[in-house]
Every structure is written in C-alpha cells, then in structure tokens.
C-alpha cells in the first residue's frame, strides 16, 4: 500500500470516511480488495487540481473544500408524489424507470420488469465488471474515488434478439438528504449487437441540503446497435456534480449522446469515447446553463481507432452573473483510422461582464486521409438582432429571451426522440425563465 500524505482537509476526510464505511459498502472479497486498491490509487493523486492539464480550468481540489459524509446505504422512504414534483417536466415521460434515492436502488418506485432489458443492482453480487472501464477513463482520479465509494447503480444488459422501437428507459438519481451528503453511483450498460435503446439519466434533488454527486457510467454497444443516451442534470445548485461517461462503440453503431446541465454548482462532466469498430456514427452534444457562481465543465476525449467513423460534437453554454463554463474536446485519430470525419463546435453566449468561457479543442491526427474540423465562438447578444426584433414591437426582455432561447434550443435538435426533446426543452425554458 502506497501512503501519500493527504494534502487537504477534504482529502483527509475522504480517507477517514473510507476506513469507516468500506466494510459496509456492497461487495466482499475481490470487490472489497478492488475498492481498497482504488482508494490507494486515489491517495496517490488526491483530488485533481489546476496543475494537472485536464483540470487546468476546473480545480476540483478547491471546489471540494469539504467532503460531505457518504449518504446512508439504506435509502429513506420517499413519497412518490414528492418525486414527481422534483422531477418537473421529466415526470411526464412515458418510460420504464429505475429509481435510485440517495445512492440506493428503490424497487417500489421502479418498473418491475422491462421488456428486453436485464437489470441488476450494482450493490448485489460481485461488481467485478469494473475492470472494463477504459484506460483513458481509468487515469482519472475521480474514477478511482467513484470506484472506492460506489454504493449502488444500474447494471443493465439490453437484449439484441428483438429490435424494439421506442424502448425508453429512465434512470433517476434523486437526492433527498436534509443534511449535506455525498452520493456515489456506478453504472454498467451493455447494449447487444443490433439492439436499440433510448436511455435517459436524470439527476434531481428533493432535499434542501447540498449534495456532492459522483457518478460513473460505462456503456458498451455491440456492432450495429443504436443508442440514444441523454443526461439531464437539474440538481440546481447542488454543491458538486462529478460525472464520467466511458463509452465503447462497436462497428456501425449509431450513438447519440446529449448532456443538459441546468445550473448545478460545480459540475465536471467527463466523456471518454472509444470507436474501435469501423463506420460508427458518434454524436455527443450538450448544453451548459450557468448563473450565479455555477461552474460547468465538459471534458471530452474521442478516440478514433477504426476506419470510416464519424464524430460530431456541439456544446453550447449560456452564462450569466459570474458563471463559468469550460469545454475541452480532444479528438484522437489513430494511423489506422482513415476516412475519419470529425466535426466539433463549442459556443458560448455571454450575458454578463463577469462570466468566463474556456474552450480548448484539440486534434491529434495520425492518419492522412481524414476530414476533421473544430470551431469555437463566444459572444454577447447581438445588438443588431435585438434592434431588429424591437423595431417590430417586441419589448427588450422578450427580445432578449427569444434570442437566448433560440441559441440554447438549437442544441436540442440533436435529441431525436420528440418526447425527450420536449422534456429537455421544458427544463431549459424553466431555467431560462427563472430570472432573465
């Protein structure tokens, strides 16, 4: 065991908490040893800080000054009506549900049987599947921390025998705590070859206390699978939200990912995608909404390994007050990945003088027959557009919201499912309407 001096109060607290709760976390034997090893890896690095290149603009060490106590493994009883209210527009989705409350699965709030989907709790059995997280994701200290503390999550297999159209599964993570708590979940999703699923991951809060969320999802799609994967984060000024998606997509898969972050304090969304099969179509996009002192970071690595794949990324940020957004998008094209077609765009709308937007596109291209491009913009509302609208009788406030909405809602065109898009739209409109 490597012992490194923990440098901050939060890091020391995490080590103490691990010693205290490790034995009550799910899994014994191999799983417990893996947790201990993960905690050791975390100790080596501690919380990532700005001197680590990938975290230059998002210093997790200073954002996480204290480590809240882990949430109780036994979930509290939650009233179903309270959940619907907390979900807001998301409640209207007609879908199968898996519900996790304060990091523990709640059967009574979840669908008992989901056609074509096999589900088990991460907390039951031996969660040895974790070895599957990719090397890129594995280098992230936040993944090690997640592995050490993960209390539960969804382990899902999507059946490829039948290609069910319109299958929609929502995984809800609800926070109810009245005291500040830390919640750690971990998901493994396997989509069989040629299977199809629309998956929506929702993070919402019922309780009044701040929450430190850590969530890691490993998604593996077999050849020819079609996956829509949407994350909606409406924790609303939770203390921190640390998310990691580790995606591996087979040949000729069609993957459409989307992350909507509607103001959740300090947010770090890591996305790592590997495309080891030929002719995959990969699109991951998102919208980051921030006001007050919100800080929203999306850091993306797309690894093109095989020929003929397409990757598309569109990330936008709407920033008011003193909010900050970060977009880091690295696209790697291996020597074998000829005919790669990659396009990336990041755009920020700056609504106040003190907002900040950091955009860092990176292309690492080792193949010679590829078409890759990227762009970034940051701008205030366009005065000539505002004048044009106002000259037609539209008041200043309404003209502003029309332009802000149109900027933000463009990203939602990436969501193909009409019902999910309508829900996302409603989340965006509600957020925008809160004080514009």
């Amino acid at each position: 065991m490597i012992v490194t001096l923990m440098k901050t109060e939060a890091e020391e607290a995490l080590a103490r908490q691990f010693a205290a709760v490790a034995s009550s976390l799910p899994g014994t034997g191999v799983a417990a040893a893996r947790r201990a090893a993960a905690m050791d890896r975390f100790r080596e690095t501690g919380l990532p800080h700005r001197r680590i290149e990938e975290f230059k603009y998002s210093d997790v060490r200073s954002a996480l000054k204290t480590a809240f106590a882990p949430a109780d493994v036994q979930a509290p009883i939650v009233d179903a009506n309270a959940i619907e209210a907390a979900l807001g527009p998301v409640a209207s989705l007609d879908a199968d549900r898996l519900v996790f409350v304060d990091g523990a699965f709640v059967q009574s709030l979840s669908s008992s049987e989901i056609a074509g989907v096999t589900f088990r709790r991460f907390a039951t059995g031996q969660p040895t599947d974790d070895a599957a997280f990719s090397a890129i994701a594995g280098a992230n200290p936040l993944l090690a921390l997640n592995e050490a503390f993960a209390s539960d999550g969804a382990v899902i297999s999507v059946d490829g025998a039948r290609k069910l159209a319109g299958r929609l599964l929502v995984i809800l993570y609800l926070h109810t705590a009245r005291e500040p708590r830390r919640v750690t979940t971990r998901n493994l999703i396997e989509v069989a070859a040629n299977a199809r699923i629309d998956l929506v991951e929702v993070h919402a809060r019922i309780g009044t206390a701040a929450v430190q969320t850590s969530t890691a999802t490993r998604l593996v799609a077999g050849d020819g699978a079609e996956v829509a994967h949407i994350k909606i984060d409406r924790e609303i000024s939770a203390a921190t939200h640390l998310s990691l998606w580790d995606l591996e997509l087979g040949a000729a898969t069609v993957y459409r990912g989307f992350q909507l972050t509607a103001g959740a304090g300090f947010v770090r969304n890591d996305i790592v995608a590997r495309l080891p099969g030929a002719d995959a179509k990969f699109d991951v996009s998102g919208l980051m909404l921030g006001r007050g002192d919100d800080h929203v970071d999306t850091t993306l690595v797309v690894d093109h390994i095989a020929t003929g794949c397409e990757s598309r990324e569109l990330f936008k940020a709407v920033l008011d007050d003193r909010a900050r957004a970060v977009f880091q998008g690295k696209v790697i094209v291996a020597p074998e990945a000829q005919k790669t077609d990659g396009k990336q765009m990041s755009q920020a709308l700056l609504l106040a003088d003190d907002v900040e937007f950091y955009s860092k596109p990176e292309l690492e291209i080792y193949a010679d027959d590829v078409a890759c491009g990227h762009g970034a913009t940051a701008a205030e509302l366009d005065e000539s557009m505002l004048f044009y609208l106002r000259s037609r009788g539209i008041g200043l406030a309404e003209a502003r919201s029309l332009l802000i909405e149109s900027f933000a809602l463009e990203t939602l065109e990436k969501i193909e499912n009409d019902d999910i898009r309508a829900v996302a739209r409603s989340v965006v409109i509600t957020w925008l309407g809160a004080d514009l």
Partner: protein
C-alpha cells in the same frame, strides 16, 4: 403627420456629424421620397426615426402625430405606428419566421390595447398576406431571413410591414440588390398599403423605385441637409443630372 425639425445627429462612437439640420414634413396619407448620394445621411435618418442605438441627437426633434418620439424605445415607436423596412434585414438563426411574426404582432396588439389574434385567425391572415407577396410556407417555417435571397428578404420586410399595420412606413433602400421583377413585387406590396391613414418615407439612391412607388414629394438629402424639395419630376431631373449639382452646397 411626421415632422422632422432641424434635426442634427452625430455618431455616438466617433462624434462624426451626419445630419446637420434636417427639416421636412410628411402629411397623413402622403408618400415622400428622400433621394441622395451615398454617405448623405439617408440611412442614418431612417435608423434615428426607428430608434437605433449608436446615434446621438444633438438638436432638433422628430414628431409623430404631434408627439416627440426621440425618448421612446424602438418597440414603443413600433407601437406608435413606426415601421422601418431595413436595407439589410437581419438574419436571426433559431427563431422561426412564423414564431417571430406572431410574437411581433401580438406584442404590438397588446401595446396598442387591441385583442391578440387567435391561432386560426393569425394563420388565415398570414397565409393571405404571404400569398400576395409570393412568400411560401417553406419560407415561413425557416429561421428568420436565414438563407433568404436578397429578394426574399425584401419581400419578408414588406410582409412584416403589411402584417404589423404601421401608420408610418420608412423604406430604406428597399430596391437595392433587386432585379426589376422583384422591385415590382415589393413596390406592389407597398402600394397596397397607401391610404389616408398612412404616411411613407421612401429612401432611395436611384430613381427607378419611384417609377413603381410614385411619390407625392421628393426631397434631396446631401451633406446632412435637405437641399431641395419638389414633385415627382425632381426624381427624373436627378436621374439626368446626378447629385453633382449639390456638391458645392456643403456646410
């Protein structure tokens, strides 16, 4: 009635004086043309009437129906009946043309104390007016002015002017960039709006638009002042002699 009285205007940013004492009146129901060379201040006058930022009025006044509009916001001026057809209509990605038209119309109705239109009534109105101007359903579904040709943009301006029922129409170089067929469509649209309750100020560099929208009076604007006012025949004179004759009259 529009009354512009000894109006002096400079660019806020660099202090450059553009209008140096413009005086003119457009009585109700009349169409007046303002002609002038490039850089004479024609577009500045149009923007100042509509209330665009970036100009500083240093003297004089603009009265619309006896009330000064200089302190009014652009949308308040629109509610009072002012409409500017832009020389270069602005493209607004992400805002569907139909949504924009409906929002604008209902904002104006509200400000004017009129009932908002129901969806079926709105659709009936827009379909009828769009057809007159050759504006297709497909154009109405697109984001406002995005990807429109020059002619489509100007037809959209006139469609807006028709829908929003202004009492003072300012047309800024509506003919620029249009071929003769497009000018005819746009001019027909403007002519349909001529009537006792509506005044028009048609700003143009060339005489040819005035073959289609025949003005009651023509004013020549050069070097920031109205240099000459006359009947429609003044436009024809200018077509022959050009603006060179006004070069020496700079202040």
């Amino acid at each position: 009635m529009l009354e512009i009285k000894d109006l002096t205007v400079r660019i806020a940013e660099d202090g450059k004086e553009i209008l140096k004492g413009v005086t003119l009146s457009v009585p109700d129901g009349e169409v007046h043309a303002i002609m002038g060379p490039n850089g004479s201040g024609k577009s500045t006058l149009a923007y100042v009437i509509a209330g665009r930022d970036g100009y500083e009025v240093t003297g004089g006044d603009i009265l619309w129906n006896g009330t000064s509009i200089l302190e009014m916001e652009p949308d308040e001026r629109a509610a009072a009946g002012v409409f500017l057809a832009f020389q270069y209509p602005i493209e607004i990605p992400g805002v569907a043309t139909m949504t924009f038209l409906r929002t604008a119309l209902n904002s104006l109705k509200k400000k004017r104390g009129q009932a908002e239109l129901t969806t079926p009534d709105f659709l009936r109105l827009i379909r009828a007016k769009a057809a007159e101007l050759g504006v297709t359903d497909e154009m109405l579904k697109r984001p406002l002015n995005v990807g429109f040709s020059g002619g489509e943009k100007k037809r959209m301006e006139v469609l807006q002017m028709t829908m929003l029922d202004p009492s003072l129409c300012v047309l800024d170089e509506t003919d620029s960039g249009l071929d003769i067929d497009a000018i005819r469509i746009v001019a027909d649209g403007a002519n349909r709006l001529r009537g006792p309750g509506r005044s028009m100020l048609v700003i143009t560099h060339y005489q040819r638009l005035l073959d289609f929208i025949v003005p009651d009076k023509v004013h020549v604007l050069a070097h920031g002042r109205i240099q000459k006012t006359g009947g429609k025949e003044l436009a024809l004179e200018l077509e022959k002699s050009g603006y060179a004759g006004f070069a020496g009259k700079a202040a």
